[in-house]
């Protein structure tokens, strides 16, 4: 056996395999195919997994209930996934692959603001609508994109609720320290919180950022301690939220309230911290305490029904990542019905005009494609359980405030 010709042959075969048309996901004609690049490996695996759960849950529901009726015809739905490896640069070529090779009809967003930005560029060029529920940075929506819509409230709103809670309790919180990861989403969250605090007469005594994959934040914690704030806020992600909270305990930093933009919602937070997780506030896009009632049929009408059905399938309470991902799909569901067609431009126009209330809240987009109409909620971990405490109308329990000293939580 000569190896040289084999090598050449192998190279040719590889090129051929690369350009071979991919097998269609399902027989075209009676299936609407969505495509999504989510993080299945890498540092955002957990978040990517939640996103996928939210999408898949909707898919099973729709297919089990006779599919989607669009323009008098019933369609099954399918979702084609790729793994973006938690890397923003990878997502662009995956989106192109989904659109040009897999010929998906529509794009469901990836996890993360940087990734969503890259994919938004691609769908804009290809004129395929994307709805996303996991990239809240306003920057994405200041570019004049016409084909990208987000069902979530913008990043600057994440921590406002926590400040509002702490500011209206007795003794009222007067000062706040903010630490933020350096990524664009967290920076916007921090800026939003600082602006709210200043506007409401609170003093921002510390506001600084740390590198995205910091392995040690003890110096920042020391600086926060020196500033002696009433409220300590962190804008970041699960890993840094845990690092900061452990650091606060290690240096015995006592505040009246502790709040995180991302973290407290996931069971991992309580699982990792145990009792120290108690009294912590978390900003959330949604919780199963919200009291919206869907004004159109076609899916679970209330958050409670959604949560119950979801729990039966995935064996955990849906967190807001799950819900916002499902809501992403719902935006498409209703826009498709309104458009009565699978034509990308007609669906885009229907999305732009969409105004519907779902279990998740209102789905309505401003001229930039952002859902500024849905309020955020604020949760608190009380006795190991996540309960919604703000806005007041939705509160499941009374706010526990101020936070007792470390060791007594």
């Amino acid at each position: 056996m000569k190896l040289r010709p084999m090598a050449a042959l192998g190279l040719v075969a590889l090129c051929a395999a690369l350009t071979a048309p991919s097998v269609p996901v399902a027989a075209a004609g009676d299936t609407i195919v969505f495509g999504s690049a989510v993080s299945l490996t890498g540092s955002l695996t957990k978040e990517g997994h939640l996103t996928q759960e939210g999408y898949d849950f909707w898919k099973s529901y729709v297919n089990a209930h006779g599919g989607l009726k669009v323009g008098g015809k019933s369609y099954k739905v399918d979702i084609k996934y790729y793994d973006d490896e938690s890397k923003a640069a990878t997502a662009a070529s995956l989106a192109e692959r989904l659109i040009d090779q897999d010929h998906v009809n529509f794009i469901l967003g990836p996890y993360g603001s940087g990734t969503a930005f890259t994919v938004a560029q691609m769908v804009e060029r290809k004129k395929i609508p994307m709805v996303e529920g996991n990239g809240a940075a306003e920057k994405i929506f200041s570019q004049g994109f016409k084909y990208t819509f987000a069902v979530l409230s913008p990043a600057p709103r994440y921590l406002e609720g926590i400040l509002d809670v702490a500011h209206s309790q007795k003794p009222a919180a007067q000062s706040v320290a903010i630490t933020a990861a350096s990524d664009p989403f967290s920076q916007e969250v921090a800026a939003g919180a600082a602006a709210w605090a200043t506007a409401h007469g609170m003093k921002v005594v510390y506001n600084n950022k740390y590198p995205e994959n910091a392995t040690d934040v003890s110096s920042i914690v020391s600086a926060v301690k020196a500033a002696n704030p009433d409220v300590i806020l962190n804008a970041g992600h699960l890993q840094d939220a845990l690092l900061v909270h452990k650091g606060l305990k290690e240096q015995n930093v006592q505040a009246r309230a502790y709040g995180y933009s991302v973290g407290p919602d996931t069971p991992d937070f309580t699982g990792s911290l145990g009792k120290d997780a108690n009294f912590v506030f978390g900003g959330a896009q949604w919780s199963d305490a919200v009291k919206y009632r869907a004004d159109r049929p076609g899916f679970y009408a209330t958050a409670k029904e959604y949560a119950k059905a979801f729990d039966a399938v995935y064996h955990h309470r849906p967190d807001y990542h799950d819900a916002e991902s499902t809501a992403t799909c719902l935006a498409f569901q209703y826009a498709l019905q309104d458009a009565g067609s699978l034509d990308p431009d007609k669906v885009r126009d229907a999305l732009a005009k969409l105004d519907v209330t779902t279990f998740y809240g209102i789905l309505k987009f401003d001229s930039r494609g952002m859902n500024v109409y849905k309020p955020m909620v604020t949760n608190q971990i009380q006795n190991g359980k996540l309960v919604t405490v703000w806005p007041r109308g939705l509160a499941e329990a009374k706010v526990e405030y101020p936070t007792p000293p470390w060791g007594q939580r």
Binding site: K2, D100, T118, R125, K127
Partner: protein
């Protein structure tokens, strides 16, 4: 040994080393020409192949310093990133011209490399490698803290519409072809021999009249210019640049991996390595959505064990499987 016979001997040794072998070279040239057809024949694969071309260019850029002079840089992504930011900053000031982008990136990066190279190219071996990594990480951090560069929020670039989008592909192709051409020319020139001489024995080379620092700086500047040009054409096509995209770990590690896998210090090696590695990665990502990275790791391990000198040598093998198996024993301790 006289100077003349020494350089003659060196010439003989390094020709084989530099050129790789004819078979691989031809394969590279033919593939490169075929790649020119992608926008017409396979328009939906442009981003994929543009990314592959980008890695090919980066691999060639890295090979100039890491392969030829043997100074292993772990920080060439610095130049890719700065190149990307050159385009982004030009775009922010209303200049959207690929020629201007590449020209600025080449000049800025060659100058930056020379400046940084002066102190750090005095370092030997691994110490140089880590110094370059340090430069890359520090620049990433600094760019992310500069408002003029958009901080961590990044900068958006003006992108042409779908109908004209293939200009980015052709631009990437030109940069890559330029990188390969430059490597080919350098490899055959006195400069190339000087680089290899430095790699094989810096002291001896100095005796032969090759000023080490000057040649090393030239090699690094060429390397930086190539990486910068690759970044300059990547940014407008991507439409958005932030520190995590411009200074991505993949853009740092993959070119090194591809060059070694293909065959380090050869003309065809980086190309073969980049094509095969990207291709395999792509296929695995398509077939095994959840475990593709696992398989990708396994493929790399297997290739290293079976072809320790790189894929290029597969194309140069004269004998059959038995000769090859025998040759493997030579690498065992």
């Amino acid at each position: 040994m006289t100077t003349a016979s020494a350089s003659a001997a060196m010439r003989k040794v390094s020709l084989a080393g530099i050129m790789g072998n004819r078979g691989a070279l031809w394969a590279a040239v033919i593939l490169m020409l075929l790649l020119l057809l992608v926008p017409v024949a396979l328009p939906g694969y442009q981003t994929l192949f543009r990314t592959i071309l980008m890695y090919v260019a980066l691999a060639y850029g890295w090979n100039t310093i890491g392969g030829y002079t043997g100074y292993v840089s772990f920080g060439n992504v610095t130049f890719f990133g700065l190149g990307a930011y050159c385009s982004a900053l030009l775009s922010a000031h209303g200049v959207n011209n690929l020629f201007a982008d590449v020209a600025l990136a080449v000049v800025v990066n060659a100058a930056f490399a020379a400046l940084v190279g002066l102190p750090i190219l005095r370092l030997k071996g691994h110490y140089f490698g880590i110094a370059t990594l340090g430069v890359a990480l520090a620049i990433t951090d600094i760019v992310g803290n500069l408002d003029a560069f958009g901080g961590t929020g990044g900068l958006a670039l003006k992108t042409v519409d779908e109908a004209h989008f293939s200009i980015y592909y052709y631009a990437a192709w030109l940069v890559t072809a330029g990188a390969i051409g430059a490597t080919f020319l350098v490899a055959r020139s006195k400069l190339g021999y000087a680089f290899v001489a430095l790699r094989e024995n810096e002291e001896a080379a100095a005796v032969l009249g090759i000023a080490p620092t000057r040649y090393k700086i030239v090699a690094w500047a060429i390397s930086a210019a190539i990486a910068g040009a690759a970044g300059a054409v990547f940014a407008p096509a991507n439409g958005f640049v932030d520190p995590s995209i411009a200074f991505a770990e993949d853009a740092n590690v993959f070119p090194i991996v591809m060059t070694i896998l293909g065959g380090i210090g050869t003309v065809a090696g980086p190309f073969i390595g980049a094509i095969i590695l990207s291709g395999v990665n792509e296929l695995l990502a398509r077939w095994f959505i959840k475990v593709h990275t696992l398989f990708f790791g396994a493929v790399i391990v297997a290739v290293v064990l079976l072809l320790p000198r790189g894929l290029v040598w597969l194309f140069g093998l004269r004998g059959g499987a038995r000769t090859w198996l025998k040759s493997l024993a030579a690498y065992k301790a």
